[in-house]
């Protein structure tokens, strides 16, 4: 390698993005390569499937058929019943056989006419209909073959039905829950009837989407991938908090739909997110700028004046000293100086406030670290881009394609560690101190410092002198991070199993 070459390389580093030709190249490493930790987590016995829309529809049909082999009703009635029971077929069958003597109530609750009673009535109605009928919606007199209705017997003309169903589907976004058009009738319109009465393909497509959507949202074993613009749903063997990896690349928790948040559990994460939404910024400001009245705890901002405070809360009107928070009276006429810092009363007041403030400080401690990792993860894309550039540079330095892949792998692991660390702070916030929690905190600390070092390595400029050196360092570090991450998660999971963790709330 001669010195000219070296200069070229350095120029390249400086010019950064200017080398535009490279940007058009496909980044070969974007092919999905799960890191070994991921693989480890996925190879356990949790067999989930990512379903396309068509597969969801098929699954829906299979569920209906399965129930129908037992109850032997028409498919469209079974569909309404299943929807009523949130697609829980065991529950449906249980209720169905519970009520087998008299299933009037069973069908009534599901807003279906009891199929076992309908025949005589329907026959009776048909015999009466020989002349023109009036449609109650458009007031037209029409022959019976232009009129139709559900088993409830409310008949309207085909045009009005079409218009009614279209309005419900397109304007109101109703699918499985459209009821008969008659006033006060709660009998539901089944999918066969809708398809029969609505000729417009667009409306039918929308209807299909609506009922598919309600199927997925009701069904406990299905969840839409929460990623924007993703149309896949994940189907699991049993519902619990598990890491699922959608075909679109998004990784999320099946139970709550949030990003995969191991080691913290869904319920704590949910609490945490709510807490953060509620008060992070506000409490920050309050902590920095106010004190509380030692008697009524109303928050006070002091924007001038002397240290003699009179609480403006009309029910309190407490006189106290801003400096020591003790009662004002013993201060006498020393309006500007407080020399009573160690008096018992003043101390008690300060202690009480200290407790409030330290709980806030504690929250902010965890919050800041949580946010810090979240912020760093947002730079993930930028890091991938800069690493890609580095990999290209290294290839110009007589390294082969395969030899430079360690950098991509390092970023993968960095992101994964950051994500885990981020959620460890949520876990830690709700955790009570005990021996195991100290082990956890040590693990956390160790992983955090290793992760930060790895991050630093990846940001460091790569020059020809330290190339071999840095490769070794990066590889050692990411292997270490990966190992520590696994250890930390294992320890927390073991704690869940053995009931080590106590919570503060």
């Amino acid at each position: 390698m001669d010195s000219d070459n070296d200069n070229d390389f350095l120029d390249n580093v400086d010019s950064g993005n200017v080398s535009s030709g490279d940007d058009d190249d496909d980044f070969a490493m974007e092919v999905d390569m799960p890191s070994s930790t991921e693989r480890q987590l996925e190879t356990d016995d949790y067999q989930y499937k990512v379903l396309t829309i068509d597969e969801i529809v098929l699954f829906q049909r299979e569920t209906i058929d399965e129930v129908n082999r037992v109850v032997k009703l028409s498919a469209h009635i079974t569909r309404i019943l299943l929807n009523h029971f949130k697609w829980d077929k065991e529950k449906l069958l249980e209720k169905y056989f519970d009520s087998s003597d008299d299933n009037t109530e069973f069908f009534k609750c599901a807003h279906v006419i009891n199929p076992f009673n309908k025949l005589p009535e329907a026959v009776q109605q048909r015999t009466l209909r020989s002349q023109l009928e009036e449609c109650e919606i458009c007031f037209s007199l029409l022959p019976p073959d232009s009129m139709t209705g559900l088993e409830c017997g409310h008949r309207f003309c085909l045009n009005c039905w079409r218009e009614y169903l279209t309005t419900k589907i397109v304007t109101e976004g109703l699918g499985q829950t459209i009821s008969c058009a008659a006033h006060g009738c709660d009998i539901l319109v089944d999918d066969v009837t809708v398809t029969k009465l609505v000729p417009d393909a667009r409306v039918r497509v929308k209807y299909q989407q609506l009922i598919t959507n309600s199927f997925v949202e009701c069904n406990q074993l299905l969840r839409w991938c929460p990623s924007v613009d993703c149309t896949y749903a994940v189907k699991v063997p049993y519902a619990e908090s598990r890491r699922v990896h959608c075909k679109c690349g998004h990784v999320f928790c099946f139970a709550c739909g949030e990003n995969w948040h191991d080691p913290v559990q869904c319920r704590w994460l949910k609490k945490w997110i709510k807490k953060c939404d509620d008060d992070s910024e506000t409490s920050n400001w309050i902590a920095a700028n106010t004190k509380e009245c030692p008697r009524c705890s109303v928050t006070i901002e002091k924007d001038g004046g002397c240290n003699h405070m009179v609480c403006k809360n009309q029910n309190c009107k407490h006189d106290f000293c801003w400096v020591c928070l003790g009662p004002w009276e013993p201060h006498g006429s020393s309006w500007y100086n407080c020399n009573r810092y160690d008096e018992d009363e003043a101390k008690a007041a300060r202690d009480a406030q200290e407790r409030l403030r330290s709980s806030l400080a504690r929250y902010l401690h965890y919050y800041n670290r949580y946010m810090n990792h979240m912020q760093s993860m947002k730079f993930e894309n930028k890091l991938y881009a800069s690493v890609k550039q580095k990999m290209e540079e290294m290839q110009q330095h007589n390294m082969s394609w395969i030899e430079v892949q360690f950098l991509k792998k390092a970023v993968d692991i960095l992101c994964q560690c950051r994500q885990t660390l981020m959620y460890t702070y949520v876990f830690a916030y709700y955790l009570k101190k005990n021996n195991q929690s100290q082990i956890f905190e040590d693990n956390q600390k160790d992983l955090e410092s290793a992760t930060e070092t790895l991050s630093e390595y990846l940001e460091r400029d790569i020059t020809s002198e330290n190339l071999a050196d840095i490769k070794q360092k990066v590889q050692d570090k990411y292997r270490y991070c990966e190992k520590r991450c696994t250890v930390l998660l294992k320890h927390v999971h073991e704690g869940y199993e053995k009931d080590w963790w106590d919570y503060t709330e």
């Binding site: 304007t171 976004g173 409306v203 929308k206 989407q209 993703c230």
Partner: protein, 190 residues
């Protein structure tokens, strides 16, 4: 009775957002692929028939202001009398019905207008009426006549003349169109 202003509608189904993001919202009348004219004529025919039967056989105490209807078929003024033996005996009220071209699949917009707005726990001083069949319980099989009867019976069954408890706030903050209010029905006794 009473209402809250936010009652969240169902989330737009996800699959819908995804599959047809580019398709523009087509005008409502042509969504079935039918010509606009046919729709309108059906809409007009129904309103005409309703009008005829209201003029020919009006329910007791109800009269249509035919002059207003002649000017504009989509806005009817209807006079309604307080029944004898009720708190509103001797009073005259006027209702305004506005129909859009989706009627009767979409409910009419119904308000009390004029100088005398009935003092009733379900009627706000701006004329808005809290009545479930005017929004979520609307059915295309209902009609102007059935709405008038419901309102008349709502007035007749009133035991104490008073405004809804949240009248002041509601009147200040509501939309002009009462159908934009998410009504919260929880009192069927009056």
């Amino acid at each position: 009775m009473l209402k809250l202003f936010k009652k969240s509608k169902d989330k737009i189904p996800k699959s819908e957002i995804i599959n047809e993001p580019k398709e523009p919202q087509k005008p409502a009348v042509s969504k079935c692929g039918k010509p606009l004219l046919l729709d309108n004529s059906r809409w007009e025919r129904r309103l005409h028939k309703e009008l005829m039967s209201l003029i020919k056989e009006p329910p007791p105490g109800v009269t249509v202001d035919t002059e207003s209807v002649q000017q504009n078929l989509s806005e009817w003024k209807i006079n309604i009398k307080g029944f004898e033996g009720t708190l509103y005996e001797g009073e005259d009220f006027q209702l305004l019905f506005k129909f859009n071209n989706k009627y009767p699949f979409d409910s009419p917009e119904v308000t009390f207008i004029g100088s005398n707005i009935p003092v009733h726990p379900h009627v706000y001083s701006n004329g808005h009426i809290c009545l479930s069949i005017l929004t979520e319980d609307w059915s295309p099989a209902l009609s102007v006549q059935s709405v008038c009867l419901s309102i008349a019976s709502m007035l007749s069954s009133c035991r104490e003349k008073k405004r809804p408890p949240d009248n002041t706030l509601y009147v200040k903050t509501c939309n002009k169109n009462p159908k934009k209010t998410k009504w919260w029905y929880h009192d069927d006794s009056v």
